[in-house]
Symmetry: C2
Subunit: 189 residues, 2 copies
């Protein structure tokens, strides 16, 4: 992807209403360090995420929520119950049932009744779904490696460690990741 424009705006330069600013530009000098960090984190994440969404759409005609769902199923070859599946998804785009319906109609996943509990429905990837997922995952990894390529191994390791601390803190102050899924439309595509 060609570099079409390089934006190097000083975040304290708030007087010039140039059109190319980003979320982070919102932070002013007096803002709390945590706020500056959050806006930078959000800004970088949004840009990587948008690139991934665009790649999935343009190269594979699919979406991040579909990829997310397939990625979870790939980790559980025996399948996942619908109720567990919805808890696993963080990047959600509407309801799991709708996405599962789509993927099933394309032959990429299959629903089966749970042997132990006939009321419970389990979803798993079909062989075609697994093949498809691996193609998506290879491109996804390629994009991510490219986008994060500006960081050295040491940078990446240091950030993993710091984000690990952040994650522990979030675990202690927020409801569990599972209960976040009560906001299914939070990140619709």
């Amino acid at each position: 992807m060609a570099a079409t424009s390089v934006i190097r705006r000083n975040i304290s330069d708030l007087t010039n209403p140039a059109p190319h600013v980003d979320l982070e530009t919102r932070a002013t000098k007096g803002d709390h360090q945590a706020l500056r960090l959050w806006l930078r984190l959000l800004s970088c994440t949004v840009r990587v995420e948008n690139h991934v969404r665009r790649g999935l759409r343009q190269e594979f005609s699919t979406t991040l929520p579909r990829f997310d769902l397939m990625a979870q199923l790939e980790r559980y070859p025996a399948g996942l119950r619908m109720s567990d599946l919805s808890k696993h998804l963080m990047v959600s785009g509407g309801n799991v049932t709708g996405i599962t319906d789509q993927l099933e109609s394309e032959g990429l996943v299959v629903r089966t009744f749970d042997r132990g509990d006939r009321r419970a429905i389990t979803v798993k990837l079909t062989p075609a779904g697994l093949k498809r997922f691996r193609e998506l995952a290879a491109s996804h990894e390629h994009w991510v490696v490219e986008l994060l390529g500006g960081l050295s191994q040491e940078d990446k390791q240091a950030m993993l460690t710091t984000l690990g601390k952040l994650k522990s803190h979030l675990n202690s102050v927020l409801p569990s990741a599972g209960s976040h899924k009560a906001m299914p439309a939070a990140r619709k595509r």
Copy 2:
């Protein structure tokens, strides 16, 4: 916010299909370091963002895209043209016109014709809008400071620096932040 559940899952523990996993859990040992970092970055960002979205909704009956729009206007007291405003928003939730309509009907923003170009419409916060924005921004900052409270000043500064490198790299490999806004529905709430 009370700690209801602390999740401390080892990301290499992929054999136990516990319901409380998160996006990051998807990364397996063999995955590229960049991919692990991306999933951790996304997972942390989603959790903070969801908390902010929920706070805005529950405490102020508003949304992140509305807050984002008001935040941009607050930085430009003279107002912003509609076309520039849409470029400024990264966390978008549908079209800027719709959000502007809502905020205008509530007396929080006002549209005026640009003196130099009568075809161009400028939007700015009303005094009531500015007051409202400051209330939202105070809570927003409070939430962010709390959620990022697990990091020391040194951690935060180090991450700001590393994210600064990431941002420069993204600027060099991605289209400008402005052209990302061509995906208006990318992060609908």
